[in-house]
C-alpha cells in the first residue's frame, strides 16, 4: 500500500509575461513555485487552494501537458520530465485526466462512442469490435447505458457528461487519474453521484487519484491525504483527518473556518482573514501568506519558510521553526 507511484520534487512553472516591443519578456507568473510531494499507490491525494493558486497548473505539469520550468516528476521510476515524446505518449496511457468543465472537455462534434473509443485507437488497443464492446462496458461502469453511445455531448446533462469524462479517462486502464475540479461545475445532488462513482471505480480499478478542488468538504470526503496550496506553493500537507482536525498553518486554519457549514448551531469562531489573494506575478516576499496572516512575524516578511515534517504532517511556516 505504501508503494510510491509518483514523486514530485521542486516543481516550478513560471509563465513569462510578454509584452512591450517585439514581445519581450517583462516578468513572470510564478504559477507553481517549488512544489514537492509524493503519491502512494492506491491513495487519493487532494489538493485544495483558492482560485489561481496553481492547482491546475500542477495537474498539467504532472502530465507534461505543459513543460515545467524546473523540478523532477518521477512516475513508477520513470522520469516524466525527461522522457522523449513517444515514451511520454506511452506513459500517458497510465496517467489520465478528468477535467473541470464537462461542457468544454468533450469535443462537441464527436459522438460519445467516438470520444470513448479514441484513446484506444490512439494507443492501438484492440480491434474495432473489442473497442466498441469496451466502450459499452465502460458506459455501464459509469452508470450510463450503452444506447447513449451514439449521442453527442450536448445531449447530456452536466452530471452525465462528467461521467463520460471519467469513462474516457478510464478507457486506457490508467494507474493514476488526475482530476482537476471534476465536480465544481455540478449541483450538490449531482456532485454526490459523481463523487460516489469516483470512489467506486477507484476500488474497482485500483486507481490512484490526484484530486484537485477548491471545496474543502469535497476534498476531505474523497482524499486520504490533503495538500493546501497558496500562491503556487504547497504550504501544508497531511493525512486528511489530521489536516482538518488539527490544521497547523494559519492559512489552512483561516480557510477551514471560512467554509460555511449547513448547521445553524455551529458557532463560528470568527477567524476572517483580511484582504485578497496577491497576484502570482508579484508575490509577497518571504512567506507568501504574510500579508494576510494574523500571526505574522518579522521573519515571515523576509524569509521563505522551510517545509517542516511533523510526523508526516508537512507544514511550511515559521511558527514551527526549531
Amino acid at each position: 500500500m505504501s508503494e510510491l507511484l509518483l514523486e514530485v520534487n521542486g516543481l516550478k512553472k513560471y509563465f513569462p509575461i510578454t509584452g512591450g516591443f517585439l514581445g519581450r519578456k517583462q516578468g513572470e507568473v510564478k504559477a507553481v513555485d517549488d512544489v514537492s510531494f509524493f503519491v502512494k499507490k492506491g491513495e487519493t491525494l487532494g489538493i485544495v487552494g483558492e482560485s489561481g493558486c496553481g492547482k491546475s497548473t500542477t495537474g498539467r505539469l504532472l502530465m507534461r501537458l505543459i513543460e515545467a520550468s524546473d523540478g523532477k516528476i518521477v512516475f513508477e521510476d520513470k522520469e516524466i520530465t525527461s522522457m522523449s515524446k513517444s515514451e511520454l505518449r506511452k506513459t500517458r496511457r497510465d496517467i489520465q485526466m478528468v477535467f473541470q468543465d464537462p461542457y468544454a472537455s468533450l469535443n462537441p462534434r464527436h459522438s460519445i462512442e467516438q470520444i470513448l473509443e479514441e484513446p484506444l485507437i490512439v494507443h492501438g488497443i484492440g480491434t474495432r469490435e473489442e473497442r466498441r464492446k469496451q466502450v459499452k462496458d465502460m458506459l455501464e461502469v459509469v452508470g450510463l447505458s450503452s444506447y447513449h453511445a451514439k449521442r453527442y455531448p450536448h445531449q447530456f446533462s452536466g452530471g452525465q457528461r462528467q461521467r463520460i469524462g471519467i469513462a474516457k479517462a478510464l478507457m486506457t486502464k490508467p494507474k493514476l487519474i488526475i482530476a482537476d475540479e471534476p465536480v465544481s461545475a455540478l449541483d450538490v445532488s449531482i456532485q454526490a453521484q459523481v463523487l460516489n462513482l469516483m470512489k467506486d471505480i477507484q476500488k474497482e480499478f485500483q486507481l490512484t487519484y490526484i484530486f484537485i478542488a477548491h471545496d474543502l468538504g469535497v476534498v476531505r470526503h474523497i482524499s486520504d491525504r490533503v495538500g493546501v496550496m497558496y500562491l503556487g506553493r504547497l504550504i501544508e500537507l497531511a493525512e486528511s483527518e489530521e489536516l482538518y482536525e488539527n490544521p497547523k498553518h494559519p492559512y489552512t486554519k483561516a480557510l477551514l473556518s471560512a467554509v460555511p457549514v449547513p448547521d445553524p448551531d455551529i458557532k463560528k469562531k470568527t477567524f476572517l482573514i483580511e484582504g485578497e489573494l496577491p497576484s502570482p506575478a508579484n508575490p509577497p516576499s518571504g512567506c507568501a501568506f504574510h500579508t494576510r496572516c494574523v500571526e505574522c512575524m518579522n521573519i515571515c516578511k523576509s524569509t521563505r519558510p522551510e517545509e517542516h515534517n511533523l510526523n508526516g504532517h508537512y507544514v511550511a511556516c515559521h511558527l514551527f521553526n526549531g
Binding site: 509584452g19 512591450g20 516591443f21
Partner: protein
C-alpha cells in the same frame, strides 16, 4: 498610449514595405509597356525601345525598386509617366475628392446603420427589425454599379431631382481651397454652392454608402443583441436606468467595438471600391485615377496610388485600434 501609438506606427513599416514590394512585383508582372502607351498606336519599335530606356524601365526591377524606395524615403512619389507631373501634387485633388465622397458616405452609413441596428436590437422581432434587416440584406446583395445606374435613371432622368454626374455645376464652379467642397463653400459663405455640392454628393454617396450601411446595421444589431443579454446591462436596468440610456450609454459603448472594426474595414474598402462609383458618377477621385493609371501602365502612379490607399487603410485601422483603447480600458496595449 503614446508609446503604443508610436509602436504601432513603427510596426506598420514592414507592412508598408511589404506592400511596396508587392505592388512593385505586381505591376511589373503586368504585361504591357508604358512606352507603348505613351507613344500610342503610332509607335515604332525603336521609339519604344528608346522611351523605355529614357524612363529607366530597362533596368532590372530591383534597381527600379530601390530607386523608387529611395525617392519614397525622401517623400517623393515620383512623376507620372503620362502627365509628367509630380505625383505628390497631382494626387492630392483626387485624394481629397474621394475623401469627401467616402467621408460623407461613411457618415451616412454610420449614422443610419448604427441607429437602425440599435433600434432593431432594442425592438428585436418588431416589424421595424424585420423591415430593417431585410433591407440591409438587400443592401449587401446589391451590385453597386447597378444601383448607381438605377439611381441615375430614377432620380436624375425620370424625376429630375439631382444632377447626374460630377461635383459641381461647371458653369458656376466652386473655388477649391481644401478641395472638400462642403467645407470650401461654407468657408466662402456660398450657401448656393454648398447646396449644389450637397446635391452632387447625394447619389454617389448614397450608392457608396449602401453596402457599409447594411453591414454596419447588421453588425450593430448582432452585437447589441449580444451585449444586451449581458450581466452588466441587467445591472444597469436593476438600478432603474431608463431603457434609452441603457441602450445608448451602456450597450452602445460595448457594442461599438466590433462595429468599429467593421467601420475601419469598410472605410478602407470604400476608398478602393470607389472605382465603380466614381466611373458611373464621373467623380474625379482616386479610384478612377488609379484605374486609368492601370490601363495606362503609369507605374509610378499605380504604385503610389495603391500605396497611399493602402497606407490610409492601414492608418484608419490603426486609428480604429486606438479608438478601442479609448473605448475599452481593458485593452492594455502599453503593457
Amino acid at each position: 498610449m503614446l508609446t503604443y501609438t508610436a509602436r504601432r506606427i513603427f510596426s506598420l513599416i514592414p507592412v508598408l514595405l511589404g506592400m511596396t514590394l508587392i505592388v512593385f512585383a505586381i505591376i511589373h508582372a503586368i504585361p504591357g509597356n508604358p512606352a507603348q502607351v505613351i507613344l500610342g498606336q503610332r509607335a515604332t519599335e525603336q521609339a519604344i525601345a528608346e522611351v523605355t530606356k529614357q524612363l529607366g524601365l530597362d533596368k532590372p526591377w530591383y534597381i527600379q525598386y530601390f530607386d523608387y524606395l529611395n525617392n519614397l524615403i525622401h517623400g517623393d512619389l515620383g512623376n507620372s509617366l503620362r502627365t509628367r507631373g509630380p505625383i505628390n501634387e497631382e494626387i492630392w485633388p483626387y485624394l481629397t475628392a474621394t475623401a469627401e465622397l467616402t467621408i460623407v458616405a461613411m457618415f451616412i452609413a454610420i449614422v443610419i446603420g448604427v441607429n437602425a441596428g440599435i433600434i432593431s436590437a432594442w425592438f428585436s422581432k418588431s416589424w421595424f427589425d424585420y423591415v430593417a434587416m431585410v433591407l440591409a440584406l438587400i443592401g449587401v446583395s446589391m451590385p453597386i454599379f447597378w444601383l448607381g445606374l438605377m439611381e441615375q435613371w430614377v432620380f436624375s432622368i425620370e424625376l429630375n431631382w439631382l444632377p447626374t454626374t460630377g461635383r459641381e455645376n461647371v458653369r458656376d464652379p466652386i473655388t477649391a481651397i481644401t478641395n472638400f467642397y462642403l467645407i470650401d463653400t461654407l468657408l466662402q459663405g456660398r450657401m448656393d454652392h454648398f447646396i449644389t455640392a450637397v446635391k452632387h454628393l447625394v447619389m454617389p454617396s448614397a450608392a457608396l454608402a449602401t453596402i457599409p450601411m447594411a453591414i454596419i446595421a447588421r453588425m450593430t444589431r448582432a452585437t447589441m443583441l449580444e451585449v444586451m443579454k449581458s450581466d452588466y446591462i441587467r445591472t444597469a436596468r436593476a438600478k432603474g436606468l431608463r431603457m434609452f440610456w441603457v441602450v445608448y450609454k451602456h450597450s452602445l459603448k460595448n457594442a461599438i467595438i466590433p462595429v468599429l472594426t467593421v467601420i475601419g474595414l469598410q472605410t478602407g474598402l470604400l476608398l478602393g471600391g470607389a472605382i465603380l462609383t466614381e466611373t458611373i458618377f464621373s467623380w474625379p477621385g482616386i479610384g478612377r485615377y488609379l484605374y486609368d493609371a492601370i490601363t495606362f501602365r503609369d507605374y509610378p502612379v499605380i504604385q503610389s496610388g495603391i500605396l497611399i490607399i493602402a497606407a490610409i487603410f492601414v492608418l484608419i485601422n490603426l486609428i480604429v485600434d486606438l479608438l478601442y483603447v479609448l473605448v475599452d480600458p481593458r485593452i492594455k496595449y502599453s503593457k
